[in-house]
Structures are given as C-alpha cells and as structure tokens.
C-alpha cells in the first residue's frame, strides 16, 4: 500500500542571478536546479549523483532550507500531515530543523575549531532548548558511543584539531542525529576521507539508518559509493534529473545516454577488465540561461531533431519504476 512519501519535491527550481553591466542589470540566471521532481518514501535511501554543476549540492541545500527555492515546492510528511517546507519561517522553521538535518562534506570545516566536541554535538539541543546541561552531556555521550567514538569521555571535551578526519566525520554524524531527525541529507560525507576510513563511515551510516529509522538523501559524485549507500539512484545533469530508478537496475541497465557515459567513465579496480570509452562529446557547460531543448543535446551521441526542437524531455516511467528524461529511449 503506497504510503505518503516522506519527502516529495515538485517543480523545484533555484536560479541565481548573474549581474552584468555598469548598472547591475540582471539579465542572466544560473539555473542551478531547474525543475526537479522526485519523492522519497520513508526509510529509503535515495542517491543523488552528478558531476560538478549538476545541481545536486544545491538540491541538498534546498531540502534543508539553507537556501530558499525560487519556485516549486518541497513537501514533507511531518507529524502526520503533509507540510510545505518551502516557505516555512520563524518558529515553524525551527521546528522543521528538528526533523531534517545535514551531514557536510568536509570534516575539517564543518566543525567550529574553537568549540569542544561536546558543544558541537550538543548544539542542536542547545538551540532547540532541549534538556539542561547535564541531560545534554549524557545524550552527547550516548551519541558518541553510537557513532563508535568510545569511551565517550575521552572525546567530550576535545577540540576538532585533536581528532582525525574519520573521527570528525563521526562527530558530524552524531550532531546530525542527536535531535532524532526523520530525514538526513548527506552531502558527500565520505569524499574527503581515506578509503579505509570511508567504508567504516558508510557502514556506520547504514547501520544507524536502519536502527533509528532515518531516511537519507545521499549526494555524491562517486557512483561506486552511491551504489552502496542508496537503494534508489537519480542522476542529475545541469540542474535536471535525467534518470532515476532502483540502484542495481540503473547500473545494470542505464537508459539515458548521459548515465551510460557516466558509468563507462568510472575507473574499475581491475586491470584485466577493459573499459569502453564513454560515448559523449564536448564538455559540461554552465547552466546559464539554458536554451529550451534537451539539456544534453550538444553532447548526446544519439541526439535527433526532436531533441533540439522540443523542450527538455520530461522524466517518464519507462517501466517498473525506472524513469528517464529522454525522447529516444
């Protein structure tokens, strides 16, 4: 029985104005996120992959309201009802922040170097006015154990520079989970960590997701990592989702030519496996004032007249929940 999805996004758009000319007239816009639709059922993990400029990070920021959408809506199933989180303000926004949290990419930058680990992890509790100092201390210690930083006492009053990258990222995870959010956006949380540390963090996140019932949006440029962290995958290009579907299915049977090119470009840790050259030409452009045609047209190996003459193809179900935005597949 299809329950109301936890997160659903409709027509989400984020434009950044480019000022030009002596009189600062705004003529051009960067279409960072350009009309995106997707939904995430509770308990699932959606992976958002794309190269730089694809709009994946901006989408993540929109979902946690670090930035506001230009148009479009984001809905979340909170407290039994469907809430439009795109326009929340003030107190409501603060309450929203108890349900949605973010894990950032850079473990060296996302922690304030002047605050102790305790202060950093307790911050969400502090600003939300939850518990008193002693209660917070206990809760933080609990979280520290949960993320594998044990014994917690040895970490409570340390400073970030005394911890390694992997440990810092665990602190970041603890901070995100301390208010017991229902939805967490993870923005490339492992890309700045060493490989041997990465898997530890990845496993931790999955384990905690299962244990605490957290739904993830996992943003990454690394398809191999996305494979392990998400059960559904969506591929973004120049602000639009071009393909979306079950992870294994998508990797086995990519439909969109961009996805195919992306997959064939990933180096494989096996010297004996030959890899075909990605079928794609040109290079990524900046999504400034895009022409109303398929965004992938100028790089597509199978582009036809219809792709140039019609607007960007809609994301359509091509069978069994596998969606693609292409006129030709």
């Amino acid at each position: 029985m299809p329950a109301e999805p936890l997160v659903s996004v409709q027509g989400l758009q984020k434009l950044y104005p480019l000022t030009a000319g002596l009189f600062k007239t705004t003529r051009s816009f960067i279409h960072a996120v350009d009309g995106v639709n997707f939904s995430i059922p509770a308990g699932e993990s959606l992976g958002l992959v794309g190269e730089s400029g694809s709009g994946k990070t901006t989408t993540g920021k929109l979902l946690v309201r670090l930035t506001d959408p230009t148009t479009g809506h984001m809905y979340m199933a909170l407290n039994g009802g469907k809430v439009d989180i795109s326009t929340l303000r003030g107190k409501e926004l603060k309450v929203f922040r108890r349900h949605v949290q973010m894990i950032f990419q850079d473990p060296y930058e996302s922690l304030n170097p002047r605050r102790t680990i305790f202060d950093t992890i307790a911050e969400p509790l502090e600003v939300q006015g939850i518990g008193d100092v002693v209660e917070r201390e206990h809760r933080v210690a609990e979280l520290l154990s949960m993320v594998g930083l044990a014994p917690p006492e040895t970490f409570l009053f340390r400073f970030p520079h005394e911890l390694s990258g992997g440990q810092r990222q665990r602190v970041a995870i603890a901070r995100a989970l301390i208010v017991e959010p229902t939805f967490v956006v993870a923005d490339e949380p492992t890309s700045m960590l060493d490989v041997s540390i990465r898997t530890g963090i990845m496993n931790l996140m999955q384990e905690l997701a299962a244990r605490l019932g957290v739904t993830y949006l996992y943003i990454t440029h690394d398809l191999a990592v996305a494979r392990y962290m998400s059960n559904r995958l969506s591929v973004m290009y120049l602000g639009k989702i071009v393909e979306m579907g079950d992870t294994e299915e998508l990797l086995r049977n990519p439909l969109h030519p961009y996805t195919k090119a992306l997959l064939s470009a990933v180096p494989v840790p096996d010297p004996t496996l030959p890899r075909t050259e990605p079928d794609i030409k040109g290079s990524i452009a900046k999504p400034i004032d895009p022409i109303p045609r398929c965004r992938f047209f100028d790089r597509c190996p199978i582009a036809q007249k219809v792709c140039e003459n019609s607007d960007h193809p809609p994301l359509v179900d091509k069978g069994a929940g596998h969606l693609a935005a292409c006129y030709l597949v």
């Binding site: 191999a224 990933v266 096996d270």
Partner: protein, 323 residues
Amino acid sequence: MAENVLRVEDLTMHYTTRAGEVSAVDNVTFSLAKGEAMGLVGESGCGKTSVATTVLRLLPDNGKILGGHIYLDGTDLVALPEPEMRKVRWRRISMVFQAAMNSLNPVYRVGDQIIEALETHLPGLSIAENRARVEELFKLVGLDPKLMDQYPHEYSGGMRQRAVIAMALSCNPDLIIADEPTTALDVIVQDNLLREMTELQKRLGMSMLYISHDIAVIAEVSDRMGVMYAGRLAELATTVEIFKTPIHPYTIGLMSAFPSIVGAKRELATLPGEPPDLLRPPSGCRFHPRCPFGTEICTQQVPEFNDHGSGHFAACWHPQRSA
C-alpha cells in the same frame, strides 16, 4: 629486460617538526624501467607524495634525506649538489602536481609560462622556435594551440591539467611524476585525460610514476604498482599480479574496502583503526595494530621486503598466499 630509468634504494626521509621527527619515508626500494608506467598507491600520510618530492629533491626546509640512493640512469641524485640537481629537474624528471590550478600563475598567459620553462631549461632557442614547440605540445595533449595566449582562469579544470602536463613534457624529460593528476576533476574529464596520458606515454615511450589514492585509477594506467603504508612499501608487483593475488594484508584490506560499480554487490570490508602517527610509528611492522594476522614477531621486527616470486615483493611476516 629494459634498463631502469629510475632506481630508488632504501630511501629514508624525515621531517623535523616542533613535536619531533616524522618518519615519512622509510627504506623504500623500487625501480622503474624505461617506458614503463608505475603506480604508487596509498592513503593520506602514507608517504607517496613524500617519495615524489624526495626524488625531485624538493623537500621543504625541515625535510631531510637520512639515507638511501636515487639512481637516475646511474647518477645518484641524493649526493648531487644543488646546481647539478637544478639541471636534472624539469629536464630529466618533471612533475605534474595535484590540483594543477595552483601550478599555473594566474597573471601570466599559459603559453608564456611554458615558454618560460623552456627558456630556463633549454636556453638558446628563439621565441618563434619556443612558440612552435608550445603549439606542438598543446596539440600533443589535446589542447587547441590558439589557447596558448589565454590566461589560466579562461581554462576549464581539465584544460588546465592538460596545460600542466604540456609544461611537464616541454623539456622532453626521461621521467614524469604525476601526483594525483585527476583527483580534482569530474569523472568523464578524468577518463578522457587518463586515456590521453596513457596513449601519450606509450607513444613517446616515456616513463611515468603515477601517484594516487585511487586504486581504480592506478589499475587502469600503470603496468606495475607499489602499495605504500605509513612511509613504507607494503607490496610491489605488476598491477595484474597485485590485483589477482595480493599478498600483504593491507593490500587485501584496501582492495576489499574499495566499492565498484561492476560485478556483484559485495559487502565492503572495513579496516579497523586509523593510519598511525608517524611521529611515533608502531614498532616492527607498522601495520600490526590493524592487522588481523599479526603475531608477536610483527610487533618486534620490521618485515623484510622480499621477492615472493617473479618480482612480486611484499614486506610481511604472514604473507597471504590466496587472493
């Protein structure tokens, strides 16, 4: 058997810091044959970049070579006085650094920067001849020669990386050291660049030393590879050999921790703990605190870097025979 263009023997290097001596490179031995592409893989702090900067003798003030030899076609670079070393750099060995954006001076045209390198190391050519050489180099790396007169900020990331490679090739070096040449690039651009570098290397018969933390990249570009851990070489063999039958527990761990998009989805292994602090490295084998096969001897004696058959070296007291 092709002769060796580079032979590093028992190279040891320390950094002196406020807190003490950091043992960054410890008794590293490997050799690179002419025309061969070798990869050096390891995580941050393993010493792979330190090996590169030591070979080029580009150590910071607090770095010191404590022992060993670096033979470039027979000449020991460790003993070479600085003026002689300057002639070796760029002309015999050149380097492509990580994040090439930072290697290019933003206030000079890209072409001019390469010409400057040419004028410094291969003096005596006219400006016209140098410009012609830059054009040739640009074509070689897949850049439009017209871009020669533009500034770095007008280039994309991939283009800048190619420009830096062109610069590295400019004086026809015997050896190029590429330190994480594609790390900052998008995957499609990376693929493009790696293919071109491999093709270029084969075409010009150049020797290359690739340094990366990404074993997938190394798997694709190098004929031989070395795995470094905590300043030491854990394993060294042909790439195919290492992937097929890894011997050192760290290598095995690293490979099983690497996710891949091909093949069945398997569970990823985790390596417990963290890489050691090189100020006070563990005694004996530096991997022993994290090794599931470690015993008494591993904590006491440094394992020897032995040949386990047909040029497959590993430093371990309990080499794993099966894959």
